[in-house]
Amino acid sequence: MSGTFVIVGAGLAGGGAAATLRQEGFDGRVVLIGAEPQPPYERPPLSKEYLRGESPFEQALFQPLDFYGENGIDTRFGVRVTRVDAVDKVVELDDGERVSYDALFIATGGRNRRIPIPGIDLEGIYGLRTVADSDRIRAEISPGRKAVVVGMGFIGSEVAASLRQSGVEVAVVDRNTVPLRRVLGEEVGRVVEEIHRDHGTELIFEDKVAAFEGAERVERITTQRGHRIECDFVVVGLGVEPVTDMLAGTGVEIDNGVVVDEYCRTGVEGIYAAGDVANHYHPVFKRHIRVEHWQNALKQGPAAARNMLGENEPYDEIPWFWSDQYEHNLQYVGFHTEWDELVVRGSTEERSFVAFYRKDGRVLAAVAINRGRDLRRSIPLIKTQEEIATVKLCDLDVDLRTLTGAASLR
């Protein structure tokens, strides 16, 4: 197959797609365009080991620097696509260049959501998405300084932990009752709360920032319930929104990201999407889901690229991610937005458990703290969507691998 395949977005999904096109023998032109100046890299370390200065950036690179040249991948890093013309099949870049395509791959990812709080533009207030963001936060870290973390989702929780581990005094503000409540619920969120409390973080829940205050730099925050916290810097982690602006007027459906079918195809011939930006129809969950995690970008990008080459294989990986906080390893697998039953295997007090999110008797997702082996063994339960007796899920003497398929009949 020949022609020009243009990939917009040089994160893990875009980089993986470019590499896969070559591995699969595509000998046309591949153009990889990314807004950041760096070649594709992995983001998980940015809130953890890289932020703490424990691992170099090179270790996060998706491929060695010379990989793209050696594989005939035409790169444009530090350049943004401003517009896609789906009629003439051209992308327009912010440096004035126009690149024609035969097939287009959208992997633009997300940008941090900006909340209009008074004082948000003061110096010393950071979001975290890119390595440049992580570098800016790193430069603020030194023992004894004081930080406020706004939002206790995964990014906020991980940053709060890394800052404490680096000797920074930390206060967090979150509108919910516990960290990660929206995703994990009250019971599991409570375990995460206690972990952070044990490490001396000041936790302010059911409250919101009213204003960031200071002359040039942020000096304190005030909250709607009257807290006033002095600080040297602030990290805001209030979620991400998909970057889809350049697709306006193309006819590509935008609804919580770029809407794609199980093959990662948009409704417009020749345009595909994958990674954080893609709202993908998942054959297991039988609905569209948008996943903002490493493994999804790593696997969905190449899967979509193979489909661009005509493989026609639905993407059906079960979403999975980890979140290390202090010495604790949290992992999640599956996808759920609501559940009617939480089944706990192990002990929340001892911080060694898997919790299954069930709806109508079926396991939609599972979260584990310090019980990774059981989490991995839960994947078939989610894939098959079989009803499993609660007593078996909870019995630590039962190997979860024996609960599905033919194995469950033994």
Partner: protein, 102 residues
């Protein structure tokens, strides 16, 4: 010159089982794949989790913390996030006991 050291108890591992042992101060995992013993560093090269706490699927060991996969016969990375291979060690069975060179 590396010497063989006996690993007490490793010979009792059933097929498909793996466990970590302290061998001269180093945590080494031993896996029994189809009756053949494979020994490798128990410490994952990514974030230092114990690989023996993970799963063994034929000749692949899967890290319980972040899902990195290694080939127990060579130590090679089969799936990230790990980048570096794990060290592997020669094994032999002497008088019913497993020995590891290293």
């Amino acid at each position: 010159m590396a010497e063989f050291a006996a690993v007490s108890g490793a010979g009792d591992l059933g097929e498909g089982e793996m466990r970590a042992f302290d061998v001269r101060g180093t945590k080494i995992a031993v896996a029994n794949v189809g009756g053949a013993f494979h020994a490798f560093d128990d410490t994952c090269t990514h974030m230092a989790c114990s690989l023996a706490e993970g799963d063994l699927e034929e000749t692949t060991v899967i890290c319980p913390c972040h899902g990195s996969e290694f080939d127990v016969t060579s130590g090679a990375v089969l799936q990230g996030p790990a980048r570096e291979p794990v060290e592997t060690y020669e094994t032999r069975v002497e008088g019913g006991n497993l020995e590891i060179k290293g």
